[in-house]
């Protein structure tokens, strides 16, 4: 390097947009939180909606029980959106909404809230996540079947590209794929395949105008990625994605404008790798993961939100989230990373990693394409993810993959961070749900019902019409304006589109190679079968609206590999459904998984329903269950509780076999129910 050529940039780069994924309890409480976060230096908003809002149910729906205001804010109608954004200038703010199945609806509410502030939709900036394929694959908050879901996405793209031109109508999410166990190659390949499906649908939707608008559409597609703690390889992954994206734009969609070909992404770093054991270690994991998405200028994130150190324990408090925001600020304002051009340019290691990932991803993309594209390949991809996740868990169980504080260096002092009464997490006031139910009833009573009925009828008419005919955004915005609710909008569309259950991936998951551990487990299960007179039968399912099914799927697959008969019920179950299934199926044990924090309400409800159905079998519970809730659950009648620190699934299986065995000793030689 010659002396006149400084290795520095002539001017320090502007930092990325800093966000905190936030929202809980009510619109009003969340609005206060947003204002405080902005005062602390946060530069964009990231709205977390509660599960009823994400899946299209009002707070007074049976399925919403226990979930209202838990993992995010309930937004039921335009009044809620106005309260949520009160005092925040929507013409200037950049708002990211983690919303998918009901994205069109929430965007409509946002547009109406802007109107109320006197802001035109043209000037709105932000992102709706709106990636339905990954909901089918990993996150579970879908509402409609694949075809109409893709139509909603295409309609939103077609609408925003003309009327809300600064809006990113969709964030292609590879984030949740990594959470579901994806390897870097799978993360790249499935995200790109997903993008192809979306862009193809958009091109078809635009019809005659595709030539004119496709450049703009391509330029508005952004990604939402993940970064794990292997941060060098993770950085390479992002560079590889940038190369593939540009290639795709040029070759498949004929885009030539350099600006529009740029790979733009926001990021939330990995939550899967965050541990419940010695949770303070998560802070350094988060810092290192943040480096993966900031170090190299050529593949740096546009927007970052970091998880909190205590996410494996429960919901983070404002203070925990502040800590994560401060990590970003230290990185951007104290370190020198923004002062240089791309620091990996010319690095043989980095180029080699990128080449390796590109080759793997291209191969995997070809397989997805052979299946007929991402929508058709959902069952294939789902099964592949379940397999990868299982492999990951086995590496951790065997100690091959080190997780500090969890499978190695486990000796620890007592953490002062989790010393308070709630164990260092946020607990949402259970009164919130009743309040919200009351509030939505008041809203329905006070509005112009005729106008709402007419708006919903119009929505149904457009939905039932031919595709590519009328854009669903138009009646959706009208319904938002008229005062319809989230549940009513979704119900109207469910009536037309039908409802849907995504493939679970567990049926296709291949059998695990038998190691010693598994062989021993199989023997135990065989012995138990002998005692019971038939194979031990386990019901695995997820009550409530939480769609994070990875844990439940792994339990189901391992139980099968151990030789049990597994009734896998999937997600979104009511207590009554679980009780009916347990009775009809004649199971010996029930395994429930909840990650949304609704276990305090839902588990006792399930146990009550089982009692009513006279099903007397042990119930075990797994998920993000704070330590101080364990006693309460056991008192309610739960036989065992497993939390993220119980990472060894084989141990859980041994335990379950023991529980069923003890039960059957207590009840005589055959555990055949007495219904």
């Amino acid at each position: 390097m010659s002396s006149d050529q400084s290795p520095r940039l002539p001017e320090r780069d502007r930092p990325w947009m800093m966000r905190t994924y936030a929202g809980h309890s009510t619109a009003k409480a969340s609005n206060e939180l947003y204002r405080r976060n902005i005062a602390k230096g946060q530069t964009g908003l990231s709205v977390a909606f509660d599960l009823p809002t994400q899946t299209g149910y009002d707070p007074d729906d049976e399925l919403a029980r226990g979930e209202v205001g838990k993992v995010g804010v309930p937004v039921v109608h335009r009044g809620d959106m106005a309260a949520l954004m009160d005092g925040i200038p929507l013409g200037e703010m950049n708002t990211s909404m983690t919303i998918n199945a009901t994205a069109a609806w929430l965007l409509a509410l946002y547009i109406v809230a802007a109107e109320d502030q006197g802001v035109e939709q043209r000037s709105l900036q932000g992102t709706t996540q709106n990636d339905i394929i990954k909901e089918f694959l990993a996150r579970g908050t879908y509402a409609f079947p694949p075809a109409p879901s893709m139509r909603l996405i295409a309609d939103m793209i077609a609408y925003t590209v003309e009327h809300v031109p600064k809006w990113n109508p969709i964030n292609i999410c590879s984030y949740h794929l990594q959470e579901a166990g994806a390897t870097p190659v799978q993360e790249i390949a499935y995200a790109m395949s997903n993008a192809i499906a979306v862009l193809d649908a958009a091109r078809e939707r635009l019809g005659d105008r595709a030539d004119e608008l496709m450049d703009d559409v391509f330029g508005r597609i952004s990604f939402f990625v993940n970064a794990g703690v292997r941060f060098v390889e993770e950085h390479a992954k992002l560079r590889a994605m940038g190369i593939l994206w540009e290639e795709l734009g040029r070759e498949r969609y004929g885009v030539s404008d350099e600006r529009r070909l740029r790979f733009r992404y926001g990021v939330q770093v990995n939550s899967l790798g965050l541990t419940e054991a010695q949770p303070e270690n998560n802070v350094q994991r988060i810092v290192l993961e943040a480096l993966a998405v900031t170090l190299g200028r050529d593949a740096r994130a546009r927007a970052i939100q970091l998880p909190a150190w205590n996410e494996a324990l429960g919901l983070p408090r404002p203070w925990d989230q502040q800590w994560s925001l401060r990590i970003q600020q230290v990185l951007a304002y104290e370190t020198d990373i923004l002062e240089y051009p791309d620091i990996f340019e010319g690095s043989k290691v980095m180029d080699g990693l990128v080449a390796e990932l590109l080759a793997g991803a291209r191969e995997e993309m070809a397989i997805v394409s052979e299946h007929g594209g991402a929508v058709e390949a959902v069952p294939y991809m789902k099964a592949a993810l379940v397999d990868s996740h299982r492999a990951r868990i086995q590496r951790i169980e065997s100690g091959e993959q080190v997780v500090v504080g969890q499978n190695r260096f486990t000796e620890t002092e007592v953490s002062p961070l989790t010393d308070d009464a709630e164990g260092g997490i946020l607990v949402v006031d259970p009164a919130v749900e009743a309040e919200q139910i009351e509030s939505v009833r008041r809203w329905r009573a006070a509005r112009d019902q005729q106008a709402v009925d007419a708006a919903l009828a119009e929505l149904a008419r457009v939905a039932a019409g031919e595709q590519n005919h009328e854009n669903l955004m138009v009646p959706t915005i009208a319904a938002a304006r008229a005062g319809a609710t989230t549940g009513e909008w979704a119900h109207t569309l469910r009536e037309v589109f039908g409802s849907y259950r995504a493939p679970t991936g567990v049926g296709e998951a291949s059998a695990a190679p038998a190691d010693n551990e598994l062989s021993q487990l199989r023997e135990e299960v065989a012995g138990l079968a002998e005692k019971l007179g038939r194979r031990p039968k386990i019901l695995v399912g997820k009550p409530g609206l939480d769609g994070h099914s990875n844990g439940a799927e792994q339990i189901a697959v391992r139980a099968r590999d151990a030789g049990m008969d597994v009734v896998y019920e999937g997600i979104r179950l009511t207590p009554a459904q679980i009780a009916a299934s347990a009775l009809q199926e004649g199971v010996h044990v029930i395994g429930l998984s909840i990650l949304s924090g609704s276990h305090r309400e839902l588990i006792p409800a399930v146990i009550g329903a089982l009692r009513d159905a006279e099903v007397d079998v042990p119930v075990v519970v797994g998920g993000i269950i704070p330590e101080q809730d364990v006693a309460q659950l056991k008192q309610a009648g739960v036989a065992a509780v497993y939390t993220p620190k119980d990472f060894d699934i084989s141990r859980i299986m041994h335990d379950i076999v023991g529980i069923v065995g003890a039960e059957c000793n207590g009840h005589g030689p055959s555990a055949n129910g007495s219904a």
């Binding site: 139980a559 151990a562 030789g563 896998y568 055959s670």
Partner: protein
């Protein structure tokens, strides 16, 4: 209960009476009786018993089955046993959800109680199984007129476990409709045909499998062929046409070919239900079930005692003749017992 019990002993000494008394008190007999009285809530426990293989439970199961045998019922069980089979992805679960809705809430006429036995393949390596069908069938958990039970196929590939056949026969005493759902075409379809009154094969548009199987004779012709996803239009029509042509060229009887669409608004579901009903009234159910019980008994006997057992009976044709001589009201389990008695006598030194 004694009015319909299988006879054969002739005299009724006191010891038999106390045996009767015992049987009446037994869990199995009590469950069988409740099923006979159409008490649907007895079904889950009855199925637990029928699936069990402990000696004590098997004795109870035999008593249960005796209570719902044609002899005890005074005729064949009234429920319609419908086998539904087809390749994975053909849309069976969606179709079954639609059928379930239509049976429970018909546009006219009375609602029917429905039991569904969903058979999933077992993992050959571990013996365990993942029974995922239940999650794909929509049902109202509060509806006491519906029972869905997932069962593993057991060791034999594509086969029906003996317990599933027994379960279908027992449930037919209590439920109006008993559906056995299996995966596959060819083998699975044949096994279902051995126990069902009516066999439905489900095909999705554009899949040539069934056509191939039909032509090659691997598959017996089903009673009803259903082409799903009629909403796909042209391709669904073409598939239906091909199937009809293949059936004509085979010169087969009245196999109905129907198109259905389960996406709203559903189409063809009522027509399918009518076709099932017509098929049923046009079949000699008693003869078909008698054949099924005899075939099932021979299968179960062979599974238990192997070729050696068969030889003790004097070979397969001799065994078949033995079964034909038995009372037509006996249940499968009782038929197996009588074969076992003969085999024992033959085996014991003269």
């Amino acid at each position: 209960m004694s009015d319909g019990t299988p006879t054969g002993s002739g005299e009724r000494p006191t010891s038999a009476e106390s045996e009767d008394q015992q049987r009446e008190d037994s869990v199995g007999a009590a469950l069988g009786k409740r099923l006979r009285e159409r008490d649907l809530s007895a079904a889950p426990a009855a199925l637990n018993l029928l699936e069990s293989n402990t000696t004590a439970d098997r004795e109870q199961a035999a008593m249960l089955l005796r209570e719902v045998s044609p002899a005890a019922l005074g005729g064949e069980a009234q429920g319609h046993i419908v086998g539904v089979t087809g390749p994975p992805g053909a849309g069976k679960s969606t179709l079954l959800s639609a059928l379930l809705r239509a049976w429970r809430h018909p546009s006219d006429g009375e609602s029917k109680s429905v039991a569904m036995l969903a058979v999933d393949p077992s993992s050959k390596r571990s013996g365990g199984s993942l029974l995922g069908d239940r999650a794909r069938i929509d049902f109202d958990p509060a509806d006491r007129g519906v029972l869905i039970r997932s069962t593993a196929a057991g060791e034999r590939l594509g086969g029906l476990a003996a317990a599933t056949r027994a379960a279908a026969q027992a449930l037919a005493a209590a439920f109006d409709v008993v559906v056995i759902e299996t995966v596959g075409v060819g083998q699975a379809e044949t096994e279902v045909a051995d126990v069902a009154d009516t066999v439905v094969v489900v095909v999705q548009p554009g899949s040539g499998d069934v056509l191939q199987f039909l032509k090659s004779g691997i598959m017996e012709t089903p009673d009803v062929l259903v082409v799903t996803k009629a909403d796909l239009g042209q391709i669904a029509l073409a598939t239906r046409r091909d199937l009809s042509a293949a059936l004509r060229s085979l010169g087969t009887k009245a196999t109905r070919v129907l198109s259905v669409s389960s996406v709203p608004p559903p189409e063809g579901i009522d027509e399918l239900i009518d076709a099932l009903e017509e098929q049923r009234t046009g079949t000699d159910i008693a003869a078909r079930r008698l054949r099924a019980r005899r075939k099932g008994a021979l299968l179960d006997f062979t599974a238990e005692h192997g070729e050696r057992g068969l030889r003790a009976l004097g070979g397969r044709p001799a065994a078949e003749r033995l079964l034909e001589r038995e009372d037509v009201g006996l249940d499968t389990q009782a038929l197996v017992l009588s074969l076992e008695r003969v085999a024992e006598r033959a085996d014991s030194p003269r």
